[in-house]
């Protein structure tokens, strides 16, 4: 089953890629969509078997790189974490594949597009099902390649090519960190196999090793290096500049790669390495701060953009920030929960935006839209669902996941946990605001498009709307269904007594630094808290987070913020919803009731507005600092180094010196016999006198 789920997309890629000419566009579409739908069902079956049934296993396929002690195989590790990811990837990918049939119907290279999509899916599946870091790296770079190919899909456009190269190179910077992290893990652990790493992590928690001449805490260094990789792939602050540009790719690509799956690889990486991060608290602190800052900064930029896809892109970046600070406070389950719900509603929003763009003859600027809701009512309704989920309005999926993330951040009771909470609250307010700004600017008010475009505007075909409905169902129900399994507590009762129980557990466990594997801990809590109540409605996965995740995620008992999150004060729980509603209300005021307000605001707050609108000037600074410097250095080395130094004093210099010498000697050859005779005479006299002089000594 796992072979089916992982390798069907590869087969689809090979068939559509190599025999695209023979099977034609329709053939390629049928093959890839068919394969992906089967793979999606296979992963759902796997999900029930592994995550619900609790049968985690690993399938070893073949040896890969073996060199001395370094021994790595191609293998598929099937546990709760990987099957959750596989489900998300295959389901969203299948939706996007089908959607693309409609969206790309006017394109000349449909077969190639479908092949690339399948290639991406395969690489992503290899990433999540890896049982060692090298295979994860294979998938990691593989999705990078697919992303590069798809961003630059319209390769006659210079902007698309530039964006593609930028995405690849910026990601390479992250990969640089990831690679160093892998080396460090090999040096410290003697293996890059997950099982071996996880087993040794508690023992090696106190290890120090020499890095850059400093004796540093090994696990912290490793955690930070791996996180550099995650920052690159998941477009966190610092290495995020590629993501907005990546919107040059066709919209289905943005939905699949730059919203639902690839950009979440960093989140997955940290969650996967949770047994290691649990012993690197300083690394987790950095993860939290970076994640929280990203959530905030990206949201501020999202407020001011006019390109419909860029707004959603910055929103993605911001939501990824939420996931990261959840990871940072050890709420791995909450992060994964938000990852899953986000995959559904963000893919829905992107594909919805694609549907709008499709209707508007490829227009992406929201200033040239407006009043569209009558023309494309289905898309309008679906976009509402996506926005409600994104803003975190109950009972949509985002409400459940965003809340637990924020509560966990609060429950961490550290300065960075609180920092994350308040940044998250601010971002939640802005999220709601820009979501409704998008909805209103696109669908309401007077139309600002040319008449020709408006007349041509039409609802998308069923092949595009169908996948949207599937995703909308996810955005609606995923939160309710998965809450209990992903983050639910076995002890779901009155706040205070359980909090007390947790504190007790914490006290007991702070003594010994042992990993408390889920189930024992759950039972302990159950035993100690007397007011335990099982209140899992039938629609939920009937299990606690501990049973659900099994061995895939490990949290030290004293770090179990998800558990503690269920018991935070009332206002902490309700504040996200309040600010979200405020945000929506403000958007109505700004863009529907009082249309003049935004301009006046802009005039008053010029400085922050310019900062946000220009994306905090990251691109400009990086361009000056790195890109231009690299090219200048390259020219300098080439001209001043190779040509003016090495060649001038090396080969060319010696040639010149030889020529000069030869020239000097050739002057003696005047051709006049008397001169030769004269020279000879002097020489003879000289030699003679030397001999005489010597014999006389």
């Amino acid at each position: 089953m796992e072979l089916l789920a992982v390798f069907l997309p590869l087969i689809a890629f090979l068939v559509a890629g190599l025999f695209g000419k023979q099977i034609g566009d329709v053939g390629a579409q049928v093959v890839t969509c068919g394969a992906l739908i089967i793979a999606a069902f296979a992963s759902i079956i796997l999900f029930f078997d592994v995550a619900v049934g609790g049968n985690a296993y690993t399938t070893v396929l073949a040896p890969w790189v073996v060199s001395g002690d370094f021994d790595v195989s191609w293998a598929l590790r099937i546990d709760s974490l990987s099957v959750v990811m596989m489900c998300v990837i295959n389901v969203v990918s299948a939706c996007v594949h089908v959607y693309s049939i409609g969206y790309m119907s006017h394109d000349g290279a449909k077969g190639r597009f479908m092949a690339y999509l399948s290639l991406f899916t395969f690489a992503m599946l290899m990433l999540v099902s890896a049982d060692n870091l090298l295979q994860l790296f294979f998938g990691w770079e593989g999705v990078g390649l697919a992303s590069y190919l798809l961003i630059g899909f319209w390769n006659h456009k210079n902007s698309a090519n530039a964006a593609a190269v930028k995405a690849f190179v910026v990601n390479r910077i992250g990969d640089f960190g990831l690679a160093l992290g892998i080396f460090a893990i090999f040096v410290v652990f003697g293996s890059i196999q997950f099982d071996a790493i996880f087993e040794q992590a508690p023992e090696l928690a106190g290890t120090y090793f020499t890095f850059f001449g400093q004796d540093l805490h090994a696990l912290t260094v490793i955690g930070l290096l791996l996180f550099v990789g995650a920052v690159g792939k998941s477009a966190q602050l610092g290495l995020h500049t590629w993501l907005p540009d990546a919107m040059e790719g066709p919209t289905p690509v943005s939905a699949l790669i730059h919203a639902a799956t690839m950009v979440t690889a960093g989140v997955f990486l940290v969650a996967r390495m949770s047994p290691l991060y649990e012993y690197a608290p300083d690394a987790l602190m950095v993860v939290t701060v970076v994640g929280a800052s990203t959530a905030f900064v990206a949201a501020t930029i999202g407020l001011t953009q006019f390109d419909i896809k860029r707004v959603i892109a910055y929103s993605t970046m911001s939501q990824l920030g939420y996931m990261f600070f959840a990871l940072g406070v050890s709420a791995y389950g909450a992060a994964m929960f938000h990852l899953v719900t986000h995959a559904f509603f963000k893919a829905l929003l992107f594909l919805g935006a694609g549907s709008v763009i499709h209707a508007m003859s490829d227009e992406q600027d929201m200033r040239k839209m407006g009043g569209l809701w009558r023309k494309i009512p289905m898309t309008y309704g679906l976009m509402w669902i996506g926005s409600l989920a994104l803003a975190g309005i109950p009972p949509f999926a985002g409400y459940f996941s965003k809340d637990i993330v924020l509560e966990a951040a609060w429950a961490d009771h550290t300065w960075f946990g609180h920092y994350a909470y308040w940044m998250g609250i601010a971002a939640a307010f802005m999220t709601a605001f820009y979501s409704w700004r998008l909805l209103i600017m696109t669908f309401h008010g007077e139309s600002r498009a040319s008449k020709k475009v408006i007349d041509h505007a039409h609802e998308s075909p069923a092949v595009m709307l169908g996948p949207l409905v599937v995703l909308a169902a996810g955005a609606l129900f995923a939160g309710m269904i998965f809450y209990q399994g992903f983050v639910g507590s076995a002890s779901h009762g009155d706040g205070h007594s359980v909090e007390h129980a947790v504190e007790q557990v914490v006290e007991e466990h702070s003594e010994d630094h042992k990993i408390v594997i889920a189930e024992d801990h759950a039972e302990e809590v159950k035993g100690e808290a007397h007011t335990v109540e099982e209140e899992a409605p039938a629609a939920h996965l009937p299990m606690s987070k501990e049973v659900f995740w099994g061995d895939a995620i490990r949290v030290r008992a004293e770090n179990d913020t998800v558990e503690a999150a269920h018991n935070v004060p009332f206002w902490v729980k309700k504040l996200p919803l309040v600010v979200a509603l405020l945000g929506i209300a403000l958007a109505y005021l700004f863009y529907l009731s009082k249309p003049g307000l935004p301009e006046r605001f802009k005039a008053i707050f010029t400085v922050p507005y310019m900062l946000f609108f220009n994306k905090w000037f990251f691109d400009e600074i990086y361009d000056r600092l790195f890109t231009q410097t690299a090219f200048k250095l390259g020219n300098f080395f080439w001209v001043s180094g190779d040509q003016n130094m090495i060649d001038r004093f090396g080969p060319d210099g010696s040639v010149k010196a030889t020529q000069k010498l030869a020239g000097m000697f050739s002057r003696f050859q005047t051709g006049f016999v008397f001169q030769y005779a004269f020279v000879m005479m002097i020489a003879v006299i000289g030699i003679l006198s030397w001999f005489v002089f010597r014999s006389g000594m």
């Binding site: 790189v65 073996v66 630059g152 006659h156 190269v165 390479r172 640089f176 080396f183 010696s654």
Partner: protein
């Protein structure tokens, strides 16, 4: 094991081919045709023998195999001694594999002095294979330096407009190294009375002498690699050389330097190798970063790939001198992989050069439209060069950095930046040549790959992918020899350290 002298047969089969070619008479056109066929068949037979050798090669053994040993210059104690082990076997294969490809690639391109060109190439093959199988320093030196002559002619006679300058530059650089190496070999002979490579490996000379000898050998191998700052001959040589010359230069000739380090420097001069290792790291890092940055600003396709070769070879020297299993195995793997990838990249440049007669990147653009097959092949090779996992380029680079990290984290970190820059310059090259706006009409009317070009490129592409997914094919055969090399290296260092304790201080590391 095989009874008959397989290695000698492989080495001198091309010479037999040359003799037959010399005997061909008739009209110019007929002679050219027959010469080409003769050269191709000769190289194909050599390849067949090489493959036969590969099938009979015992990968579990670290010993020299197919050994031939007979006395040659008896009074001097110099022998005719040949053999292959895990370190050399793949270089022999690489040389035997790339030669027929080079001959085929020149089929329609070389129109003047066809006969002489083919003779030069066959002679080159003899010298290349001989270098990798020779187990006697004199024999090795003859082959190692012999390579210079046909290569000099290939650049100087069939090269581009600045061919004479480039050929002399090439000759000047390599000659400098050669002279020093000759002095080194003579000193070694004077000291030990032996020219036998295995014997010399087992009996390291005194520490002080090692230092001088190491520097003498280093001069020669560093030029061949080429390492910074003696690399400037390579871009010029590549730019002016005909396609086949570039392929063989990048594919095999550069590897002779790395092979030399593995055969001479590490085993014969272990203390000096350990002593100079830090210097090699520094030079390697400079090579990687400096030449990558230069590659970023090149406007000439061949020059760009030539500079990237210097960077990739920087990884190799780094890996070799880490003296770790991963570093050395990675270094050997990287050499094999680079031989295939850069060879094929130069072939690919040759493909468009044959059509448009320019290497200027500016003159192309958007050719994915009319040359989709070419674009695909070039894409895979580009990714191999960038070191994407799943291609052979990744395995070598990763293992080298892994080895380096164990020895020195700073070195590994700096070297790893090469992967970022490598991605930048290759992707920009690809973007400008294959993608981008379709502005140059003549570039857009070029026909796609023909049958012959597909036949040349696709086997290499498949090998690049195969070695990326199943590197074990190569790794398991080289690892016993590498283990032996490292085991003996560490042993010699320990012995030396034990001896040195009475004096002052042991060797470093």
């Amino acid at each position: 094991m095989v009874d008959f002298p397989l290695l000698s047969l492989m080495t001198f089969l091309p010479v037999a081919g040359i003799l037959i070619i010399l005997a061909i008479r008739g009209d110019q056109e007929v002679v050219d045709q027959n010469t080409k066929h003769m050269a191709l068949y000769t190289s194909l037979f050599t390849l067949a023998f090489a493959l036969f050798m590969y099938t009979r090669f015992d990968g579990s053994s670290a010993e020299f195999q197919f050994v031939e040993h007979s006395s040659w210059l008896k009074p001097l104690g110099i022998n005719y001694h040949m053999g292959v082990d895990g370190i050399s076997v793949f270089f022999v294969l690489l040389a035997a594999f790339l030669t027929p490809i080079c001959i085929l690639s020149s089929w329609d391109v070389i129109k003047t002095r066809v006969k002489e060109f083919m003779i030069a190439f066959l002679a080159l093959e003899t010298f290349m294979i001989g270098t990798f199988v020779a187990l006697d320093t004199v024999l090795f030196y003859v082959f190692f330096e012999g390579v210079l002559i046909p290569m000099f002619l290939i650049i100087g006679v069939w090269g581009g407009p600045r061919r004479v300058y480039s050929a002399y530059k090439f000759f000047l650089y390599t000659l400098l190294g050669s002279v020093l190496m000759l002095i080194g070999l003579l000193t070694l002979y004077a000291q030990t009375g032996s020219t036998d490579i295995p014997t010399l490996m087992d009996n390291p000379v005194a520490r002080d002498l090692q230092m001088w000898l190491w520097l003498a050998f280093f001069a020669s191998f560093a030029v061949k690699m080429p390492m910074w700052p003696v690399h400037t001959w390579l871009p010029d040589a590549h730019v002016e050389a005909p396609t086949a010359g570039s392929v063989i230069l990048a594919g095999v000739l550069l590897k002779m330097g790395g092979y030399g380090f593995l055969r001479f420097s590490l085993p014969m001069l272990p203390e000096a190798s350990a002593y100079f290792a830090d210097m090699v790291y520094v030079l390697s890092i400079i090579a990687i970063i400096y030449t990558s940055l230069i590659a970023l600003v090149q406007e000439d396709m061949k020059k760009l790939i030539a500079y990237s070769s210097v960077a990739h070879m920087g990884f190799v020297t780094l890996g070799i001198f880490t003296a770790t299993t991963q570093g050395i195995e990675g270094g050997i793997f990287q050499m094999i992989s680079h031989g295939l990838i850069s060879g094929a990249l130069f072939l690919s440049v040759g493909v468009v050069y044959d059509r448009l007669h320019t290497r200027e990147i500016e003159r192309y653009g958007g050719i994915v439209k009319n040359m989709p097959k070419y674009a695909t092949v070039f894409m895979i090779l580009m990714l191999g060069s960038v070191g994407l996992p799943g291609t052979s380029g990744f395995v070598g680079e990763f293992l080298i950095l892994l080895g380096a990290f164990q020895v020195n984290t700073v070195v590994a970190a700096f070297a790893a930046t090469g992967a970022i820059l490598g991605a930048a310059y290759m992707l920009i090259l690809y973007r400008r040549v294959i993608f981008g706006p379709r502005t140059n009409d003549d570039a857009l009317s070029m026909p796609d790959l023909n049958q012959r070009e597909i036949g040349l490129l696709v086997p290499i592409v498949l090998l690049v992918l195969w070695l990326g997914i199943f590197p074990g094919t190569v790794m398991e055969k080289i690892s016993p020899s590498v283990d032996k090399l490292i085991g003996e290296y560490n042993e010699k260092l320990e012995v030396a350290a034990a001896q040195g304790e009475t004096e002052e201080e042991g060797p470093e590391r």
